[in-house]
């Protein structure tokens, strides 16, 4: 269902969309059924069609009509629970055993900064590449992200991955993703974080391995005399608000 609105670009995006479709089908069925009965009754039993009948609802043969659907709803619920839990375990509880790399995602008022491992593939070494509002990753490679927040709650949301996770100050939260196609897409902050919440977007650049290697070579701090660029021009508000503080 969701692919019609947004491409599905992570390995688990399809699973999440699948759960959504499953729920849509099951609840849709009940919703339509309820409405048919509901409007059917309103039409069939309007006052013109005669007096009403005395029914307490405790009669066995009538109560059945409520009890049986009610048990069927329970069965549907079990399917939904199964589907949801399976996807959840995959997305949130398991980490890839051999990740291609780990990136650190830092939320702060009101920008995302990203720490990429450099050529050595390891974080917290001298060749780490820090960027503001641009995350560079390689397609088809499992990544682990380490999510931290500097000040308030933020939420690292990559809609095309169907991924959301809050960043909480004082905690390091890990998760993973594997992109399935190249391109440039949105990263959003999906947890209100103050007046600049509306400008706290970033971009994720999914590239091929060669392109990524070229990007690393170009941006390795040795080549980079200055600190990472300031937040880009499209955030006049964040800048003024920060100045106000």
């Amino acid at each position: 269902m969701i692919e019609q609105y947004l491409p599905a670009l992570s390995t688990y995006a399809g699973d999440i969309d699948g759960v959504i479709t499953l729920i849509a089908v099951l609840t849709g069925f009940w919703y339509v059924l309820c409405n048919i009965v509901f409007f059917g009754f309103i039409f069939r039993y309007r006052a013109k069609s005669g007096a009403s009948e005395y029914i307490t609802g405790e009669e066995k043969e009538l109560k059945r009509w409520v009890t049986i659907p009610h048990l069927l709803v329970l069965v549907c619920d079990l399917f939904i629970i199964y589907g949801a839990v399976r996807v959840w375990v995959d997305v949130k509880q398991t980490l890839p055993e051999q990740p291609y790399a780990t990136v650190r995602v830092v939320g702060q008022q009101w920008a995302w900064s990203f720490v990429h491992p450099g050529a050595d593939g390891k974080l917290d070494t001298a060749d780490d590449i820090k960027t503001v509002d641009d995350l560079h990753i390689v397609k088809d490679k499992p990544y682990i992200y380490e999510l931290v927040a500097r000040d308030v709650l933020h939420n690292f949301s990559v809609p095309v991955f169907r991924l959301k996770q809050d960043a909480i100050p004082g905690r390091v939260i890990k998760g993973w993703f594997t992109a399935t196609d190249t391109g440039v897409y949105d990263i959003q902050c999906a947890e209100i974080c103050g007046i600049g919440h509306g400008v706290m977007g970033a971009r994720i650049h999914i590239t091929t391995e060669e392109q990524h290697a070229a990007w690393i070579a170009e941006n390795t701090p040795a080549n980079l005399a200055t600190a990472p660029a300031a937040p880009p021009e499209r955030k006049p508000l964040a800048a003024t608000a920060l100045a106000a503080r």
Partner: protein, 570 residues
């Protein structure tokens, strides 16, 4: 259970022959439950106007970013946050709760259980006065330096706890104080409601003779009392964090921001049922009357309501799936959340079954009641997407969530309120409302309502996240197609707001020159209809009613009339 205190009429009371009272003592400082109910209702509706105005302002900003919104002006990012925050806070705490629980609870409980007033009339008055104070305090937060609080109605710290993050040093504290005062008001009110309904029922009224609406208001009050405690403690902690610099929620000094989320949602989720249940109860009573049918399986309704109430304490963390809770806990809360859909589905089935072989008249209140069921069903099924952890990863904090809970809260707070007002108007004011105007208002509200929120489901599925004052900053959300949907929703909102004028006109005109209402214009069974419209002070005159049967004996075989008042001796 049902043994009543004898010699009641000996105390025969002369409530009704009061001296002429001054306006102030009659309307402002009265301890009469009916007057207090009116105070709650009009205060709640006035706050509703403010909340609707806020919605108008920020929807205009979303549809036409940067425009000079008439009556407001430019909506800045800070103002936008303050508007959405206070829209949510007001609509839940200052509209849904006072109108549905306090106003209808105050008005209906004594009348429907057959007594003359609440058991603690002065406590009742105090509860309203504290509530009024809390409303004034909240509104005051818009006029202080730094502006009103803008950290969302959930007020997650550290944003809400530290002025250097929220940039509203006074606004956030005033917000917390206002909410805490409101809780105090409803704790006092709730104790009153519960005690009155438990202890002061008319002679002969057993547990299963209580109208469903009373049951639901009472259960809602109990849910409120049992869930609000941790948040009261949390509010004190947050206030200390804000004002004297303690570190309950400050992770740098040993606090934990996630604790607040638990404290908040442990209350916040039962709160949904606190406002839902009274609306469900109003609907049940109206449906029985206008289908001329006994409610289908009265006891089942009670048991499922109890089950919902208990389960509602076990589901709270589904609001926090991706908010940093341990992922393993998500399984527990997914299971409980989907389980709570069972009693709610049962309730919907039972309500629909009540229509079966009825004799349905589509009066205005009945239309509202049916619309409640129809719209709430949409809210209910879309909730399943959000309660299922796997799907919530995507839907969390999108407009899908927003549309979902408006499909629950709008039926609850707006449709339920209109259903209640149009149904009990003759009793409250002794005059009938105009049915034609009522129906114009009904369709003028329901159709635009769906036009507002259905597009928002699609925006949410497209990944639009909440509380953003301008989507131009997000390339995926800045497309023309999405903007068109936003404009459509905003226009629908304007249409819906315009139609509310019809209601106001209908209300005022009917109040002054509507047809005089008889005691029991709807030919209903419950006790409030067996006394003059409007009821005198003391409700039932010198003789308190006795109850002989349940509240839903409609179309009983072998009777000439198709209704059978609870207090009519057989």
């Amino acid at each position: 259970m049902a043994e009543s205190v004898p010699a009641e009429s000996a105390h025969a009371h002369d409530h009704h022959d009061h001296h002429e009272q001054s306006f102030a003592s009659k309307y402002l400082f009265s301890t009469d439950h009916k007057i207090i109910a009116m105070q709650y209702m009009f205060t709640g509706l006035a706050m509703g106007l403010i909340g609707a105005f806020f919605a108008y302002a920020f929807r205009m900003q979303l549809a036409f970013p940067g425009m000079d919104v008439p009556f407001w002006g430019q909506v800045s990012a800070a103002e936008y946050n303050a508007l959405v925050t206070n829209h949510g806070t007001i609509m839940i705490f200052w509209v849904a709760m006072p109108v549905l629980i306090a106003a209808f609870g105050n008005y209906l409980i004594p009348l429907m259980v057959g007594c003359d007033d609440m058991v603690f009339p002065r406590l009742n008055r105090l509860s309203y006065q504290i509530f009024l104070l809390s409303a004034i305090v909240l509104i005051a937060s818009f006029f202080v330096e730094g502006g009103a609080f803008g950290g969302a109605w959930t007020a997650y710290p550290p944003l809400s706890a530290k002025a250097e993050y929220s940039l509203t040093p006074l606004g956030s504290s005033i917000w917390v104080v206002a909410v805490a005062l409101e809780f105090v008001a409803f704790l006092l009110g709730g104790i009153n409601f519960v005690t009155t309904a438990m202890n002061s029922r008319a002679e002969g009224m057993g547990m299963y003779d209580i109208p469903v609406v009373i049951w639901m208001i009472v259960i809602a009050s109990i849910l409120f009392m049992a869930s609000v405690g941790p948040l009261v403690a949390g509010a004190v902690m947050l206030l200390f964090d804000q004002t004297i610099g303690t570190n309950f929620f400050d992770p740098d000094r040993g606090g934990d921001p996630v604790l607040w989320q638990h404290l908040f949602w442990f209350f916040g989720h039962p709160e949904v049922y606190v406002v839902l249940l009274p609306a469900m109860g109003i609907t049940a009573d109206i449906m029985a009357v206008f289908a001329r049918k006994k409610l289908f399986a009265y006891k089942t309704i009670l048991y499922t309501t109890f089950a919902t109430g208990v389960l509602s304490f076990m589901v709270w963390a589904h609001h926090q799936f991706v908010a940093g809770i341990d992922p393993r806990m998500a399984h527990v809360f997914t299971i409980t959340t989907l389980l709570i859909s069972i009693p709610i589905a049962e309730l919907c089935f039972v309500y629909i079954a009540t229509l079966y072989k009825g004799s349905i008249t589509l009066t205005t209140p009945m239309l509202w009641a049916l619309a409640f069921l129809f719209e709430f069903l949409i809210g209910g099924v879309t909730g399943i997407f959000l309660g299922a952890s796997g799907a919530d990863i995507y839907f969390h904090d999108t407009y899908f969530v927003l549309a979902h809970f408006h499909y629950t809260f709008f039926p609850i707070a707006i449709i339920g309120t209109y259903a209640g007002i149009t149904y009990w108007f003759p009793k409250m004011f002794g005059r009938m409302m105009n049915d034609t105007l009522g129906k114009i208002h009904f369709w003028g509200t329901i159709i635009p309502f769906n036009c507002i929120f259905i597009p928002l489901f699609f925006l949410g599925m497209g990944g639009q996240h909440r509380r953003i004052y301008n989507y131009e900053n997000f390339p995926e959300l800045a497309g023309q197609g999405m903007q068109d949907l936003r404009v459509f929703a905003t226009v629908a909102l304007l249409v819906m707001l315009a139609f509310q004028v019809v209601f106001v006109i209908n209300f005022i005109v009917s109040l002054r020159s509507g047809k005089k209402a008889e005691n029991n214009p709807w030919r209903a069974n419950t006790l409030e209809w067996q006394t003059p419209s409007p009821p005198p002070h003391g409700n039932f005159g010198s003789e308190m009613p006795k109850v002989y049967r349940g509240p839903y004996e409609y179309s009983t075989p072998g009777r000439e009339e198709d209704f059978w008042p609870q207090n009519a001796p057989s």
